[in-house]
C-alpha cells in the first residue's frame, strides 16, 4: 500500500542529510509507528510522502501511484494530519469541513453522515459553527482530524496526531485507527509517545540522523537490541549515538 524506495533528501547543497536512502513498505491493514528523536527526519519523510517536499532521490508510491508522477491520484487516496494544527482561522469549523469535503468531492449525503459521526466522536457538534480562531489547540487538532477523515481515506498519514488531544479524543482516535485497519486501511504516524507505539502499532520504524536504524514488530526490535526490554529502552539504546 505504501512503498518507499531509496528516499533521500538533503539541505544546504547536500551538507545536511535529512533523510538518507530510506526503504520501507507498509501493508494494508497495518498500523505503522514512525519514531525518532527531534530532527531525525520524521517530518521530512512525511512531507515527501504527501507531496509537500520533493525528494532528491527515490520514490514514494501509495496504492501503486507515485506521488511525484500522479500527485492528484495519491492525494485522493490519503488523509494527512500535519504536526502543527494550523488551519484557516477566519473560517468556521463547518466552513473548513465543507471546503475539505468539496476538495475531496464528497457528496452532500455522505459528508453529512460522516460529519455527524465524526463531530460526535470528537465532541465538536456545537463548536463546529464557531470561527476556528476561537478554538483551543486541541480543538484545532480535532477539526483537522475530522477534515482528514471526512472522505474516508485508504491511507492515513499523521505527524504527531495525539499532541494536544484530550484523553477522550485520543482514545477515540486510537479506537478509530484500529477499526480502520480492520477494514484494510493503512495508518502511518509519527509519535514521541512510545507507549502508544508499543501498545498500538503492528510495526515500528526508528529513524535517527536521517537513516532508518530499526524496523519491525516490537518482538523483532527486542531481538535486535542487546537486552529484551521496553520500546523506550530500545529507542534510547538505538539512538544514543
Amino acid at each position: 500500500m505504501i512503498e518507499i524506495k531509496g528516499l533521500s533528501k538533503s539541505y544546504n547543497r547536500g551538507e545536511i542529510k535529512a533523510v538518507e536512502n530510506l526503504n520501507l513498505e507498509v501493508k494494508p491493514g497495518e498500523i505503522f509507528g514512525f519514531l525518532g528523536p527531534n530532527g531525525a527526519g520524521k517530518t521530512t519523510t512525511i512531507k515527501m510522502m504527501v507531496g509537500l517536499l520533493r525528494p532528491d532521490q527515490g520514490s514514494v508510491s501509495i496504492k501503486g501511484f507515485d506521488i511525484q508522477k500522479d500527485p492528484i491520484e495519491v492525494k485522493k487516496r490519503i488523509g494527512f494530519v500535519p504536526d502543527q494544527p494550523e488551519v484557516y482561522e477566519k473560517l468556521t469549523g463547518l466552513e473548513y469541513l465543507e471546503f475539505m469535503a468539496d476538495a475531496y468531492e464528497v457528496s452532500r449525503e455522505r459528508r453529512l453522515e460522516r460529519m455527524q459521526e465524526l463531530l460526535e466522536t470528537f465532541q465538536m457538534e456545537n463548536a463546529v459553527f464557531d470561527l476556528i480562531q476561537s478554538y483551543s489547540h486541541g480543538m484545532r487538532q480535532k477539526i483537522i482530524l475530522i477534515g482528514t477523515l471526512l472522505h474516508d481515506p485508504e491511507v492515513i498519514i499523521m505527524d504527531e496526531p495525539m499532541t494536544g488531544l484530550d484523553p477522550k479524543s485520543s482514545h477515540a482516535l486510537k479506537e478509530m485507527m484500529k477499526e480502520k485497519c480492520k477494514e484494510g486501511k493503512v495508518m502511518f504516524f509519527s509519535t514521541h509517545v512510545l507507549e502508544v507505539a508499543e501498545k498500538f502499532c503492528h510495526r515500528v520504524g526508528i529513524i535517527n540522523k536521517g537513516k532508518l536504524i530499526a524496523l519491525g514488530t516490537l518482538e523483532e526490535l527486542q531481538n535486535q537490541a542487546q537486552q529484551k526490554s521496553s520500546l523506550e529502552n530500545i529507542f534510547l539504546e538505538l539512538t544514543k549515538s
Binding site: 517536499l53 520533493r54 511525484q68 485522493k76 466552513e95 464557531d130
Partner: protein, 557 residues
Amino acid sequence: MRWKNFWHLVKLNVKITFGLSAWLYYYRKKDRRFWGGLGIFAIILVSIAPLFYLYLRMVQETIQNLAGTGMEGVVITSGAIIASILVLVLGIAYVISAFYFSNDLDFLVSLPFKPAEILGGKFIGVLVSEYLTIAPFFIPPVVIYGLNVSGGLLYWIFSVIIFLFVPVIPMVLASLLVMVLMSLTNLGRKKDLLRFLGMILILVIVMGGNFYLTRLPEGQEMEFIMGILEDPDGLISFTGRVYPPSIWITRALSGQTPGSQLSNLILFSGISVISFGILMVGADRLFFQGLIGGREISAGRKVRPGLLERKTKARHPILSISIREIKILIRVPIYLFNSVFILVVAPLALFFPLLMGTGGMDINEYIGIVDPDLLILGGIGFFGLMALFGPALSSSISREGKLFRISQVIPIPPFKQILGKLLSGFFISLLVIPLVFLAAILYIPWSLGEIVLISFLGFLVAFPLMGFSLLLDLIRPYFTWQNPQQAIKQNMNVLFAMVGGFLFLAGLGWGALKLLEIGLSITWIYFLIGILSLTTGTLIMVALFKIAPERYKRISL
C-alpha cells in the same frame, strides 16, 4: 518604560520587519535568495525611476517659477505634507496590523515587558519602514531646494534631523486613533466588522478634514488667492494649514534667520518627542485593552438541531476555492481594507478634484465638452484601473502563508485552484459595476447599453491584468510575513503587478487614442480592445496553467 527592554524590542522588530537575520543567513550560506532579493530591489528602483524623474522635474520647475517671490520654500511644505499624510493614511493599516495582528504577540505578551515597551518596539519597526515610504517624496524637495539656495552645512544637518522626525507625529496620531478604536471595539462577535468600519471612519475624518482645511471661501476665491500670493509667507501658511508641523519644517529649513530656523527645528523635534511620550503613556493604559482577548470569540454555545443539515451543501471544487478566498478576504479587516474598500477609495481619490469642481469648472460642464466615445473608453479604462488597485490577486498565493500546505495536499489540481482564485478576483471586480451605474446616474449620461458595453469590455481588459497579477504571485510568493499587512504591503508582487498592468493599460489607451485620431470607427476600436485583451489574457492563462502544477509541487514551506 525600561529603555534596555525597549531597545531589545526595537532591534527584534527591525530585524523581523526587514528580514535582516534571514538576509544575513542567505548571504553567509551563499543562498541565491540573497542575490534574488537584491535583484528585486534593483528592479523596483528601475521601474519607479521614470515617475521619480518627473517628480524631480516638477519640484525644480516650481522652485524656478517661484524664484524671487520668497515662496520657494513651499516645495518643502508640500513634500512634508505629502509624506505626513501618506504616513497617517497608510500608517493606520500598518499600525493596526503590526500592533494587533502580528504572529509574535502571544509570545511577547507572555514575557515580562510593559505594554509601552512592546508597542514602542513595534512602533519603531513600522517607523523605519515608513522612512522608505516617505524618502522619495520628502528628500527630493529638500535636496533640490538646498542646491538652489546653496544651503550651508547647517541646512543639511537640519535636513537630516527633520527627515528622522517627519513620520513621528503622523504615526503617533495613527497609533493613538488605532489604540482607541481597538479598545472600544474589543467586544462581541462582530468586532472585526466594527474595526473595519472604524478604520473607514478614521479615513473619512482624515480626508474630510483635509478637504475642509484647504477649501477656498465661496464667492471670494480670487481675492483669497491674491491675498495668499501677495504675502511671501502666505502660500506656505495656506498649504501648511492641512498639517501645521509642515510649516515648522519649512521654516526650520528656509527661515529668514538662523535663530528662526533653530527655534522651528526645536519646536518640531520637541513636539515629535513629546507626542511619542504621550503615545507611550497611552500605550500603558490602552494597548492591552484592545489586544488581550482580541482573538477570542465565545465558543461552545448550544446550537439548534438540524443546523448542520441546513448548512451543508456540496459545491464544485473551483467554486469552493473562490468562496474560501472571498470569505477570508472579507473577514480579515486588513485584507478587506486593502483589497475591497480600496475599490471605493481609489475612484474617490482619483476623481475628487473633478467632483469638487476645480479650476472654476463644474464637472457637468467638463463632461459636456468631452467626446462621448472618450468617456466610454475612460469607463473601460476605469475597470482596468480598479483591477490594478486591488491587490486581491497579486497577493492571493502569498496571503495563504503557511497554510499553502493545505492547497498542496488537497486533491484539487493546481489549475483548478488557480481558476478558483481568478473567479474570486472576478467576483470582487463586480463591485465596480455599481460605481459605473452611480457615475451614469450622477454625472455621465450613459445609456444602459453603454453601461453593458463598458462592463463587458471592462472585464475583458481586467482579465489579463488579473491573470498577470496571479502569475507574478505564483512565480514568487511571499510566505514569510509576520502580520497580514505585510502579506500585501511588503509583497513586491503587488507593486510589480501594478506597474506591469499600468503599462498594459497605458499602451491600450494610447493605441485607442491614436486609432481614433486616424479616424478608425469606434466599433472597430472596441473590437480591437476586446480581442487584444482576450488574447493577452488567454496567453497568460496558458502560462499560468503550465507552471502551476510545478510551482505547487516545488514550493516548500
